[in-house]
Amino acid sequence: MAAFPGKNASTILTSVLAAETGRHSGWLEDPRARRRFLGVLEYALRAGAPGASYVIAQVIRQALREGLPYVYAKTSPEARQVYQWARAVSRELSRLKGLIRLEPYSGKGRPILIGKAPMRYNLVDLVLAHFARRFPGHRIILDTGRGIYEWNYGVRLVKEEFWEEIGKESRGRNAEQCAGDYYATLWEAYYESQIIKGRLDISRAMRVLPKRYWNWIREGRKLRSFSP
């Protein structure tokens, strides 16, 4: 410890790593830069592509040797690939946050909000954490088709008893298919009211919201009626 007075083990490790790896690895000592870089890598990993860990390891080596801007500039094919994965995951997460519809239930204890969405990538924890922040005091349940999860200071699988509690017929039902939800009808009426006929541009609508998402949302039927 005498060689690094006043530093903790983490900073010593970072300093040694920086000294050992290359002249452009100073970013290792900048917590914000580290966090941002790790965020990109985490998203890329979530894409679940075969061989991802090998490519990511290559990118980490490049970042240590050449510096972060080299990676951010996607100068190498590996960095480009990692960014493509990360961007795809980030786009999907943004759509999940916006397009998952929640169905309110009142069970025992806290009010419940149930959402259903098939997921391309492993984003259950991020989506649940988003809704948990948004609706404090609520129990957030997410049905991905492969499993049913809830947020309770982390992701947990939901047990069978939960369905007894709120009524078994709810299981597997898409929130948008709930005929009894008056607010879904109101929402559809509202959506209809916002259409300006003089501005119709369905090809642009299809670009910003690809057709595969139309099944998720009740107003998808309306969009479909305009599509060629």
């Binding site: 801007p69 080299y70 916006g98 948004r134 109101l186 916002q194 910003v208 919201l209």
Partner: protein, 408 residues
């Protein structure tokens, strides 16, 4: 009238109001968190899209479409024969919260016609917002419209409750506004209120003011006979004088039963060009004088304003990617603020040598290549750029070199 019928009427009545983004990261006084329902989204979030591709992020609705004003363009003008209705503040707040819980919307954009008088309607608008903030403890995004002629105390209270306030100017000057409304006083009813909002916003850090997304305004494009230079000139002044966050533009669409029903339909492209130019001033640091208006004071339709501005200043190009300043890079077509910053960052440790590297940084190389040098050399993109139409110099009213070609 039941809620469904009211919603259809009051949603439709608000559909021409524009509120593109709810992105804000600040929370301000009484903000998100602390056990409140709802949060502010730092990057904006689209919850649906209309068949024209516009994002729906906010529940955009009028409290009432009853109105004592006579604005010539407005579907809610007093003399127009349309079904009139109103939401009660409790009813609207409850409806919004149910929409929010189902994740249909990111926040609320609340506007209104002037039912009996401005004060009474402002009170109802504020009451709706108070119910959301105080009874339902809603901590998410609210954009509140300030009615023309509202009192200073209403503006103060609105700033304590809302994340964004807006007052629609509709026209760029008092003279132009007279073509749209007999009752509204441009200076007193609108500009003075915008100054009050700015004053309240300036004291944000000290008091209870929330207003994390500032104030905005909206112009109806083409209804008052104004040109683009007048609109963007007004926007430029508002940035300086009232700290305007951004301006919205709505291409005029004639509405049956209004005095302007036979007015010309304004092409959506004109609205688009105004947005592009406003972005240049707000995000790219362009001065108003750099915006490339034609002799009639309008923006060229055939070419985007940034490319037109670059073609008008041949002496400023090409710029050397490895030496150019941020301002120079931002004036190159195909380079945006993010890619310009990436270039600056990469240049510290690495010399950029080819277009592929620029492409990876997010530069649209097809557009940018003719305006750039890489290590002192001009490089052509491998594929022919789609934007060749950009060099259709006839659109620039002859204000380009007589040789008709690029200057390098």
């Amino acid at each position: 009238m039941d809620t469904l019928a009211k919603l259809a009427i009051l949603g439709e009545a608000a559909k021409y109001d524009v509120c593109a983004s709810s992105a804000t990261s600040g929370s301000g006084a009484g903000g998100a968190g602390r056990g409140r329902i709802g949060n502010l989204s730092p990057a904006g979030c689209c919850h649906s899209f209309l068949p024209d591709g516009r994002c729906i992020s906010l529940f955009k609705v009028l409290l009432t479409n009853e109105c004592v004003n006579d604005c010539f363009y407005c579907p809610n003008r007093s003399s127009r024969d349309v079904p009139r209705t109103s939401f009660q503040p409790e009813e609207l707040a409850g409806l919004f919260l149910e929409f929010y819980k189902r994740n249909y919307v990111e926040g609320l954009f609340l506007s209104s016609g002037v039912a009996k008088n401005t004060a009474a309607t402002m009170e109802d608008l504020l009451k709706t917002t108070e119910i959301l903030r105080e009874r339902y403890r809603f901590g998410g995004y609210i954009h509140l419209k300030i009615l023309p002629g509202s009192g200073e105390d209403y503006i103060q209270r609105a700033a304590e409750l809302a994340d964004r306030l807006s007052i629609n100017l509709e026209a760029p000057s008092a003279g132009r506004l007279k073509n749209l409304s007999r009752r509204k006083d441009f200076e007193k009813d609108l500009l003075e209120r915008m100054r009050w909002v700015s004053k309240v916003q300036a004291g944000r850090r000290e008091g209870k003011v929330r207003l994390s997304a500032g104030q905005t305004t909206q112009f109806i494009v083409g209804a008052a006979g104004e040109n683009d230079a007048e609109i963007l000139g007004a926007v430029s002044r508002l940035y300086r004088e009232v700290s305007l966050k951004r301006a919205y533009f709505s291409a005029f669409q004639p509405i049956a039963g209004t005095p302007l029903e036979n007015g010309p339909v304004v092409p959506i492209l004109r609205e688009h060009r105004l947005y592009q130019s406003e972005f240049l001033m707000r995000t790219y640091g362009f001065a108003y004088e750099e915006i490339p208006f034609g002799r009639d004071g309008n923006l060229p339709m055939e070419i985007d304003p940034k490319a037109a501005a670059a073609l008008r200043r041949p002496e400023a190009f090409p710029v050397e990617v490895n030496k150019a300043s941020l301002g120079q890079l931002l004036r190159v077509p195909g380079i945006g603020p993010l890619s310009a910053r990436r270039i600056l960052s990469l240049r510290r440790t690495y010399r950029i040598r080819d277009l592929e590297e620029l492409k990876n940084l997010g530069v649209v190389t097809g557009r940018a290549a003719p305006f750039l040098l890489l290590d002192g050399r001009s490089k052509k993109p491998e594929t022919a750029p789609k934007q060749l139409g950009l060099f259709d110099l006839s659109v620039l009213d002859g204000e380009v070199p007589a040789d008709g070609g690029l200057p390098w």
